[in-house]
Amino acid sequence: MAIWTHYYIPQTLDEALSLLCREPQSKAIAGGTDLLLELQQGRHPPVRTLVDLSQIAALQRLEMSQGALWIGASVPLNRVIAWPPVRHFATALCEAISLIGGPQVRNVATLGGNVAHALPAADGAIALLALDAQVLVASPEGQRLQPLLACYAGPGKTALQRAEIIVAFQVPACEKEEASAFRRVMRPQGVAIAIENMGIWLRRKDERIEDIRIAVGPSGPMPFRARQTEQVLRGKPLDEETLAEAEKVLKSEARFRTSPHRATAEYRYHLAGVLLRQTLQTAWERTQLNFAEELGPLSVKG
């Protein structure tokens, strides 16, 4: 059963943008691992034209520049995972995308698609939010750099227009005393979307947390920054008293709900405490490592 009529593979960004402007019922496609399934199952409005973004050089970028990682929006996840700077300077992101799908899915799935699909618990997006990534968006009017959450309009609903394309993500590289970690709970193992996930970035000063960012999914309609919890933790030592207070605040500010047959809200609130403690502890321990060389193997499922 054909689920599209025309399929274009443009070589440049301009070409892609003009195709998306010109063609009615058009849609950009990268790995297609979510999109094709939704089209096939009738959960997406029908499309006539698919515009493939996999051959555009600007979207294939992978480089370190001025203290930031630039990750092209249509680089397959397995290539991102294999790129050493991601593992060293954006560890949470490396951990998160290593858990997306199985190896076959990661061979084609992209970070651009992960964000454009706009799910509130997308592993890539949760990690990007914790790492304070900026998004480079191209439109017929030109390119702009915007915060990640500006790409979201609601659950599964992107704020991007049809003729707008995510070009790349700018992810600040962790510096000395900074580290990040990502955890998720899922069933079954390996191929499921998260029941709950969490990304944490922090900067340590001596025995205190100097600065921290916590991202949680699925809490509310889009990836959620636990700002009140961050505030509780800022400037504090990582002791039981702080943790207990942080856990309490996280459970009050997060908005978990029940997904039939996957998890009740009650279970998710319980897990929030578990994930907070585990992820925080891992990130904290990583700040003591002298960067990548000592990082050791991540729990990357291959």
Binding site: V185, Q189, H261, A263, E266, Y267, H270, V274, Q278
Partner: protein, 742 residues
């Protein structure tokens, strides 16, 4: 032996690995049309009117068929209680009603699948909804809505066992354990959803190529519904992508044949093809029976179980399918592989508006043994006695009487099987009896580990008086030596490797190289009735039929007959049905015996239960192909692990809420036990071919109670309900508050 006992390559390996082998969905015939089925999608209603005019008017639509087009609108493996198509104009009463969401209402045949789907959605059906009953206990009440008004009750099967006097015996018990157990449904989730083609063959037979478990039973069901003589119906099985009992009943067989026949009658001679989506498959075929089991067992302080009282209720769903047989098996197995002097069992199968339930690997055994073995483990705890020691003081031995008052057939090995399994799992035999290994160390404060033990037994072959039989035909060609042997057999290879075993047994018996055996398989026009690939029976039944046919053929060959042709029917010793009052019977002619130990780890923070190691000791009599036996053991353990821990089939008010494999979770490679030690034991069955028993179901049976016991060992908590999904575990551990009683 040269061939029996060797792990030869499967006869179907090369074709499957290279992709040359055709599964039913791969079979395409010239000029074929495509069929889609309109499912009821509502749990209980009378169909007042069906208007197919818009569908028929759509360009590309060839035909639309409804109930009035079915010659004899009923079918069913045990009793014909299900309409082929539900709707007005049937020749049977009450066939105008739908009783579960997967009931079939109309067939659309069109030039393409897309057109057929579009036309299906244009069919207008006027329903008058009826009250829905989905709780099996509620369905038993006198005022419950009746699913089959002509039957007068939703209870469609009841068995009784009365042996000794349980009331008197309980008075003599030092320990009594009572429990109420609930078991979940389960989806077969075979790789290949239902698919096939239907056409009129060159000899004018209505022919279908589908995946099933018993060609000749499919043939009979089709002939019955189409009012055709048997010989006018032909059923062929191409390669089959898994079955597990889920293809025992009809899904697309009758409607494919009906479509081919009715088109032919209209002068349209085109094959009809259908492939179900996964979602259609999940609502379209039956599930494993959920059971509610109430148990009361008593033992003396010496560790002798002297009384067991059981009540079993099985949710049969909307139609009987094989429920009566499943219930019979559960009734027999619900007191475990033990000799208990006083037994009282009452068991019931009940109609509800849930998806029908039927055959699934273990056939009532897993549910019954979950209760029996958990009772046994709890009795051991209450007695302060080791679980292996308690079992060995009670197990069935040669000559022991079953609950149904008769001894087992010769070759009872459960005691040896328990001992072998216990030893491999670290138990030790001391002067004071058997002692369990030390509790495994917890790797972290929140990761708790434990070990559990359970055992069981499973009949091989059809039970309770069924006229069990299996045909084989052997032809020998050559001059001085046998150059070619042709074995004709209908037995289905559902993936378990039955055809390889057939070839091995033929080569062994004839004393010829395996390559000289040619198999002609699974076609009612070319092979005789073999019975079903179920009840763990194919090695035993086909093996005996082929072995005896080969022996007879060899005799003629030695008498210089050329070529030789022998057609042989194997019939095992007769069995008898339950006595309606006491249950007394000779239920089976053969059994396999099994014991398992499981080591688990509970993450007490997330509630996840992980299986670290499973030891499965299985007496298969003789492993005709040891690596295939190992495959069966590992496959059954993985499927049972899904049943125990992960798989959660949810229905609400008659609707399936887990209709995709993204919501009905089966184990991934990362969820399965880290290690499965298969102990293949070979205590020969006196009647089995080369001593073989059967293996398909046994390793599924004791895993859940073993896991439940291991979780108890780790946490101190007995779970009486599963799957052990994280939230259930955390609630059990007191980390989440209990759910309000529903």
């Amino acid at each position: 032996m040269k061939w029996v006992g060797q792990s030869v390559h499967r006869v179907d390996a090369v074709g499957k690995v290279t992709g040359e082998t055709l599964f039913p969905g791969d079979v395409n015939l010239p000029n074929q049309a495509y069929m889609k089925i309109l499912f009821a999608q509502r749990p209980h209603a009378i169909i007042r009117r069906i208007d197919t005019s818009k569908a028929e008017a759509l360009e590309g639509v060839i035909a639309v068929f409804t109930a009035k087009d079915v010659p004899n609108n009923e079918y069913g493996l045990i009793m014909p209680d299900q309409p082929v198509l539900c709707g007005p104009g049937s020749n049977k009463p009450y066939a105008d009603r739908v009783r579960f969401i997967g009931d079939q209402v109309a067939l659309v045949i069109a030039e393409t699948e897309e057109i057929a789907a579009k036309a299906r959605d244009l069919i207008e059906v006027e329903y008058e909804d009826l009250p829905v009953v989905t709780d099996m206990v509620a369905a038993m009440q006198p005022d419950a809505p009746l699913l089959h008004p002509d039957r007068g009750s939703n209870v469609f099967c009841h068995y009784r066992i009365r042996k000794g006097d349980v009331e008197e015996a309980f008075k003599r018990c030092d320990v009594i354990i009572e429990g109420e157990y609930r078991t979940p449904s389960q989806e077969h989730a075979y790789l290949q959803p239902e698919a096939g083609v239907g056409y009129i063959d060159e000899e004018g037979r209505v022919t279908i190529q589908v995946a099933g478990q018993w060609t000749h039973e499919d043939q009979e069901q089709i002939a019955h519904a189409l009012n055709l003589p048997l010989e006018k119906v032909r059923v062929i099985y191409p390669a089959i992508g898994g079955a597990f009992g889920g293809r025992e009943d009809m899904s697309i067989q009758i409607v494919l044949a009906l479509a081919a026949l009715r088109l032919h009658e209209r002068g349209i001679n085109r094959p009809v093809k259908i492939i179900w989506s996964r979602e259609e498959s999940i609502i379209g075929h039956h599930k494993r029976h959920p059971f509610l089991i109430r148990a009361k067992w008593g033992a003396t302080k010496e560790g002798k179980v002297i009384a067991a009282e059981m009540q079993l209720i099985a949710d049969g769903g909307a139609y009987a399918y094989t429920s009566t047989k499943v219930l019979g098996n559960a009734t027999l197995l619900c007191t475990g592989p033990y000799e208990i002097e006083n037994v009282k069992v009452d068991s019931y199968a009940v109609y509800t508006n849930n998806i029908p339930t039927g055959a699934f690997r273990g056939f009532g055994g897993p549910q019954a043994l979950f209760a029996a073995e958990t009772q046994m483990n709890r009795l051991a705890e209450a007695l302060g006695m080791d679980v292996v020691e308690l079992r060995l003081r009670n197990v069935l031995r040669e000559g022991s009487l079953l609950s149904v008052g008769t001894p087992l057939p010769k070759g009872v090995s459960i005691a040896q099987v328990i001992e072998e399994c216990a030893k491999a799992a670290g138990w030790q035999q001391t002067e004071d009896g058997w002692k369990r290994p030390p509790k495994p160390q917890n790797p972290a404060p929140h990761l708790w580990r434990g070990i559990g033990f359970a055992c069981g037994f499973k009949n091989v072959g059809f039970s309770f008086g069924y006229p069990e039989q299996c045909w084989a035909t052997v032809e020998l060609y050559g001059g001085a030596e046998i150059e070619r042997a042709i074995v004709r057999h209908a037995g289905a290879d559902v993936g378990q490797g039955a055809h390889t075993v057939m070839a091995q047994i033929a080569a062994e018996t004839l004393g010829i190289p395996l390559e000289r055996v040619r198999l002609v398989l699974s076609d009612t026009a070319l092979t005789d009735n073999s019975g079903s690939a179920s009840a763990s029976r194919m090695t035993f039944m086909a093996g005996n039929a082929i072995k005896k046919a080969c022996e007879a053929a060899l005799e003629k060959w030695r008498a210089e007959e050329r070529p030789v042709m022998i057609r042989y029917q194997y019939r095992p010793p007769a069995t008898t049905p339950f006595d309606p009052q006491t249950g007394k019977c000779e239920p089976n002619f053969a059994y396999g015996y099994v014991a398992q130990a499981a080591e688990v780890e509970i993450d007490t923070e997330t509630g996840h239960v992980r299986l670290l190691r499973v030891v499965s000791a299985d007496d298969v009599g003789k492993a005709v192909n040891p690596i295939q036996v190992q495959g069966q053991i590992e496959g059954a353990v993985v499927q049972a692990a899904g049943y125990a821990v992960l798989e959660n089939f949810v229905q609400k008010d008659g609707y399936v809420l887990t209709q995709h494999l993204s919501t009905y979770l089966i184990p991934s490679v990362l969820d399965i036990p880290e290690r499965v030690d298969s102990l293949i034991l070979e205590y020969p069955d006196p009647l089995g071919p080369y001593g073989a028993r059967g293996v398909g179901e046994m390793p599924f049976l004791p895993l859940t109670p073993a896991v439940i016991a291991a979780v108890h060992d780790a946490s101190g908590v007995w779970f009486s309900e599963f799957p052990l999904i994280p939230e259930r575990v955390l609630r059990g551990l007191g980390k989440l508050k209990p759910l309000p009683a529903s």
